[in-house]
């Protein structure tokens, strides 16, 4: 039971990690928590579903089909995130608006995307097709869901890819420079619009991957993206703005959640989680990573 709980916790934390990393990335650049990520996740989950339905008779290999569906969702996530940046954030950035306006704008975009899905796809839920013949495998004497294992693997992979982009590419260098000071970046001849859009597109692609896994695990419904709140909590625990802190915070949150459900029941578990979180933030307000968020110059 202990091992089953640990594995369930890590797998749940993996979902939160993908969301939290997106949060951390955007917080670094724009200094606000991007709640439109929930709406992006929902839309991309549906995009993945549509792709899977369209391609299921055309691609024989389940693994290839799954990879294509993931890629389609990630791509649509990137495109939608770019559109969100253009519609909701660019003008605010150019007029140097207060962070609270970004926050309101992101929540509005999240609600808008969720409602668009409700209008076009109805509030009925849908089930993703089955990609793998085996649903669970024995590991350390307990059953582990295949999708959970993949989610964990993909969370780690996504994190490594993201770190590679940020620390080993010119775009990454630009994004990190923009995180520190957008104005100077512009003086150095870089295009801040492009850099911010790229950051949002990376975050949107991660949202796309999360959306497909959420859809596969929990069925597809318009409120799917509301799980973004858990990603936000994880990124706060990890230290807002820290990417590796977001992953650690997410896994910790997942494990805590599963153990509290096991010990005190699902009714009390959220209360205990928030009490632990408040106590932790009182002791360590900067989160696990202890990141000091740079204020914009």
């Amino acid at each position: 039971m202990l091992m089953q709980n640990i594995i369930n916790g890590i797998s749940l934390g993996s979902v939160y990690a993908l969301i939290a990393v997106g949060f951390a990335l955007i917080f670094n650049v724009l200094k606000f928590s991007n709640f439109s990520q929930g709406g992006v996740m929902t839309v991309t989950a549906y995009a993945g579903y549509v792709a899977s339905r369209y391609l299921s008779g055309r691609i024989d290999s389940s693994l290839v089909l799954f990879s294509v569906v993931l890629a389609a969702a990630a791509l649509s996530g990137a495109v939608i995130a770019a559109a969100v940046e253009r519609l909701a954030f660019r003008r605010l950035r150019r007029t140097k608006s207060e962070p609270v306006y970004y926050f309101i704008s992101s929540i509005t975009m999240g609600i808008l995307l969720e409602n668009l899905i409700t209008i076009y796809a109805s509030s009925n839920f849908y089930s993703y097709p089955r990609f793998f013949t085996t649903s669970a495998v024995p590991l350390f004497g307990v059953n582990v869901a295949v999708t959970d294992m993949m989610m964990f693997g993909l969370s780690i992979t996504s994190l490594l890819v993201l770190l590679f982009i940020l620390y080993r590419t010119k775009i990454g260098l630009g994004i990190r420079a923009a995180c520190f000071d957008v104005n100077t970046v512009q003086l150095m001849g870089m295009n801040p619009d492009f850099l911010v859009t790229m950051a949002l597109m990376i975050s949107g692609a991660l949202g796309g991957v999360s959306g497909v896994f959420l859809g596969m695990n929990y069925t597809l419904y318009p409120q799917l993206g509301q799980m973004v709140v858990k990603g936000f909590v994880a990124s706060v625990l990890g230290g807002l703005g820290s990417i590796h802190g977001a992953v650690i915070g997410a896994v910790l949150l997942g494990v805590l959640e599963i153990f509290f459900i096991s010990w005190v029941g699902a009714g009390w578990a959220p209360v205990f989680i928030f009490v632990v979180m408040l106590a932790f933030l009182l002791v360590r307000p900067r989160g696990i990573a202890g990141v000091i968020v740079q204020e914009k110059a």
């Binding site: 039971m1 089953q4 709980n5 369930n8 749940l12 409700t118 109805s122 509030s123 009925n124 839920f125 849908y126 089930s127 993703y128 097709p129 089955r130 649903s135 669970a136 059953n143 869901a145 959970d148 695990n217 929990y218 069925t219 419904y221 509301q226 599963i258 459900i261 096991s262 029941g265 699902a266 009714g267 959220p270």
Partner: protein
């Protein structure tokens, strides 16, 4: 000259409009309200009930209506939201509805009961929580009527089948503690199992919005349960069915009405949609529903789900209440409803108890889902209910 022509033209138009109004008023209509979730999370049910009610109304109107008056269904979208439902009900009352086809949602039924009692317009629903139809004082809620077994009757049918027929004595229970429907199906089931010598080895809960139940299922597995009782909505039923397989809980699920079609088609793994027992309102083989079945299939190009027949029977009940109450006013419908006796509906023979406003002695049809396919096991009613 032009002015004179204008006046004549104006008078002619006015006369025509007034004549039109007079014509509309003379074509008598009886307004039946319909409050269903059309766009919310339980819209699968809401749309099915609405379609069933529409088929019944079309059939009644085709046969000349009621005393020459045509029935008209006016639908309000509750969005599975209590506040929306209250607004919708008040709107229907002020529009002149004489009865309301209620939703299959107990939370909404509970909120509507005091408002409907005051307004005096009957709500005929399939909200199975007995508190919707019987008040805390033990007296029936004047305007609330149930037309399928209450949660107590339904739970006892399931519990009796679990222990008396299947011989399963160690039960694990998982339910949504924030949902009146789930709680009302859990308590009588647990009481019946305990009274019959069975044991609840693990009682697990979750709350609204939860989607991952693997921890609770693992605890039920660890407790050594012979079966899992899961009285919850269809989306959670799909998730639990998949997650049961993922944690290796290889025991039968004893489920509620939400395991009825289209449930099995929504589980993407037929290996997971296996070894599940449920009680449904009807059997496809029974002759009384063939006509409705055929009409529905011809009209919508798909097989009807159980809520279609509940919607159809709700209209039959309202029509019968009009006959017994001596007219089609709201007061007459409310007076006639408790007098309904041995009415052959599509879901069974309906008799409404004047003491509880619930149906008396209704049996249910048992099904088993095997590898994604429904196998009918026949009608079942516990000995206790026959007395």
């Amino acid at each position: 000259m032009k002015n004179g022509m204008g006046k004549w033209l104006f008078c002619a138009v006015l006369v025509a409009v007034l004549a039109g109004f007079a014509g509309a008023a003379s074509a008598k209509e009886i307004l039946i309200g319909n409050m269903q979730d059309i766009s919310g999370p339980t819209s699968v049910w809401g749309n099915a009930v609405t379609r069933g009610a529409e088929i019944a109304i079309e059939k009644i109107n085709a046969a000349g209506g009621i005393d020459g008056a045509m029935l008209k269904l006016v639908t309000m979208d509750t969005k599975a939201n209590v506040q929306e439902a209250i607004k919708g009900y008040n709107s229907l009352v002020s529009s002149g509805a004489v009865a309301v086809v209620g939703p299959p949602v107990s939370n909404i039924g509970l909120a509507l009961a005091p408002i409907a009692n005051k307004a005096g317009v009957s709500v005929v629903g399939s909200f199975i929580d007995p508190r919707v139809t019987v008040g805390e004082d033990g007296k029936p809620q004047a305007a609330m009527f149930l037309m399928q077994p209450s949660s107590i009757q339904y739970s006892e049918i399931m519990a009796s089948y679990t222990i008396d027929v299947l011989g399963l004595r160690k039960v694990g229970v998982l339910y949504d503690q924030s949902n009146a429907f789930a709680v009302s199906l859990m308590k009588p089931y647990v009481e019946y199992i305990k009274a019959a010598g069975g044991e609840i080895v693990s009682e697990q809960v979750y709350t609204k919005g939860d989607k991952d139940f693997k921890t609770q299922l693992a605890k039920i597995k660890e407790a050594g349960a012979d079966c899992l009782y899961f009285p919850n909505y269809i989306q959670e039923a799909v998730l639990v069915t998949n997650q049961r397989k993922q944690v290796g809980l290889d025991v039968p699920i004893i489920g509620g009405l939400d395991f009825a079609p289209p449930f099995a088609s929504l589980v993407n793994d037929p290996e997971a949609a296996d070894n599940i027992y449920l009680a449904n309102n009807f059997s496809e083989k029974e002759p009384q529903l063939k006509e409705v079945w055929d009409i529905y299939k011809a009209k919508f190009g798909e097989n009807p789900v159980n809520k279609v027949f509940l919607g159809y029977d709700k209209i039959l009940l309202i029509r019968e209440a009009m006959k017994l109450g001596g007219g089609s006013s709201a007061a007459q419908v409310m007076a006639g409803m408790p007098q309904v006796k041995d009415l052959q509906g599509t879901t069974g023979v309906l008799t409404i108890s004047p003491e509880t406003h619930q149906p008396v002695g209704l049996s249910m049809v048992m099904y088993k889902i095997e590898k994604g396919e429904y196998a009918e096991l026949g009608r079942y009613v516990p000995e206790k209910h026959k007395k």
